[in-house]
Symmetry: C2
Subunit: 284 residues, 2 copies
């Protein structure tokens, strides 16, 4: 005998009668915060180059926010998970497969997109800059890397500053964290932004916070390095992600169990050559 519900329907009958069109539905997009770390030019070939944290933005060629810069993204299609949408967008935007991707959460303010009811499931990705050639011409949109800095402001809020490579464009956003235990992606409030489309300043702020939180606990920095690297490179990537310097001795003690000496040395440095390491595969 079959199970029947309160209306006397079997499961097959119920599913046939169910009409999802009866409810108003939002559009759901995935917006991508694509992080990378890049070396700026050093004064001398013997010195270590400085590094910058960068994000990939796309200039809007249509309304709304025409001319402003936005996170790359696109709508979720039927049959996809949001993670698959993010991976697809990233592939279309950068040509990269199998990069590190992490879901950051939903931004759903009703007015965030003046066109319609669109909520965004933000993701962050970590890509190696040398693997990406952002394609300015692809579908008539201009893509560019922006350096990202975050300064605390006196009243407890933060100011994000973005600068396009070469210094042609400068964007900014101010976000604040309301008092109380508000947590999660919608915990930050966007107090204002310049040159950034939609609520993307808010999404950026949340992504940066997550990035910094996770550097300490996890293995994110490896995704921004080549297979073989020196400990100084690893430390520099961590410092760039965190936005503050780390002590060398303590850093090496801490990451020692995560890496493995491969017995080779970096070549052609103007100083003592550094040992090369690779990431150690973890047993759980």
């Amino acid at each position: 005998m079959e199970w029947r519900d309160g209306a006397g329907l079997s499961e097959a009958e119920f599913l046939a009668a169910y009409r999802v069109e009866d409810y108003t539905r939002p559009s759901v997009a995935c917006d991508m915060v694509v992080f990378t770390v890049v070396q700026t030019q050093a004064d001398s070939y013997r010195q270590l180059p400085e590094q910058q944290l960068q994000v990939l933005l796309i200039q809007r060629g249509g309304h709304p926010f025409l001319g402003d810069w936005a996170l790359p993204g696109g709508f979720v299609r039927p049959g996809e998970t949001v993670g698959q949408t993010a991976a697809r967008e990233l592939r279309e935007e950068t040509g990269l497969e199998r990069v590190y991707l992490e879901q950051l959460g939903v931004f759903s303010d009703p007015g965030r997109d003046p066109r319609a009811w669109v909520m965004s499931c933000a993701h962050m990705a970590l890509v190696r800059r040398d693997r990406v050639a952002p394609r300015p011409g692809a579908d008539a949109r201009q893509a560019a890397w922006f350096s990202l800095r975050c300064q605390p402001v006196e009243d407890g809020s933060f100011r994000l500053e973005l600068e396009r490579e070469g210094g042609e464009d400068r964007l900014w956003a101010t976000v604040e964290r309301p008092a109380g235990d508000t947590a999660g992606p919608e915990g930050y409030r966007l107090a204002g932004s310049g040159g950034l489309a939609f609520d993307h300043g808010r999404i950026l702020a949340w992504a940066l916070r997550r990035l910094r939180r996770e550097v300490e606990t996890s293995r994110l920095p490896f995704h921004l390095l080549p297979e073989r690297f020196t400990l100084t490179q690893l430390q520099q990537v961590c410092e760039t992600m965190l936005g503050r310097p780390l002590l060398k001795a303590a850093f090496r003690r801490k990451i020692a169990p995560l890496v493995e000496d491969i017995g080779e040395y970096a070549q052609r440095a103007g100083h003592r050559p550094a040992r090369l390491y690779r990431r150690k595969e973890q047993e759980r």
Copy 2:
């Protein structure tokens, strides 16, 4: 002069012509993992009672998963953020206002709901059990609290076990974390479940992980305690959330800066009375 896009439209013209109906859209629901901590009966009035971590579930009265237990939840309505949806659901389900709520992330497997394309933005809530009278009769659905336990299994996966208060129903789910750096809500995979509807075992597993992560860093336990509490009560709540015992001396050292002695004592215990504390308001 007005800005015009590639098609020669002004922003107002563009918005008027934009048709969101042209795209297929998913339904978006908020599912709530409502946690509480409850004391079980002690053998003697002089002994401290044991505590249990519990979640609120609702028995499905319709297809699909008729008779199984599901997380409370409902669809996002136009004009709401997902956080507002969660707060509304919680109010409807428990009558509570202003409880701690946190967005956990999106679960979006295309087949997760056999009726239609429905993605779920999961939230967790922390409520004081003594404030909630789950209303079994409300809109013909039966609500009940289930104790929640989580055991690691030998191959790296986890088994969740739920037991209804009184022991009438037992539910389970097995989840695994695939190798690699998969992070975020969709990082867990549901290997199987019994008595739990949809992918709610997976959502529960993720919620429990988040809960445990955040106990250590934040102030979540206060939301499960009355205004005035003893340090032993606070420690017990933390232990229950974490599922493991803590050392008394170390615990007190650690939480000392978060609480404030109010100079009163717990009454009527069969032993030395404990000092009462309240949460100290943080400067950031």
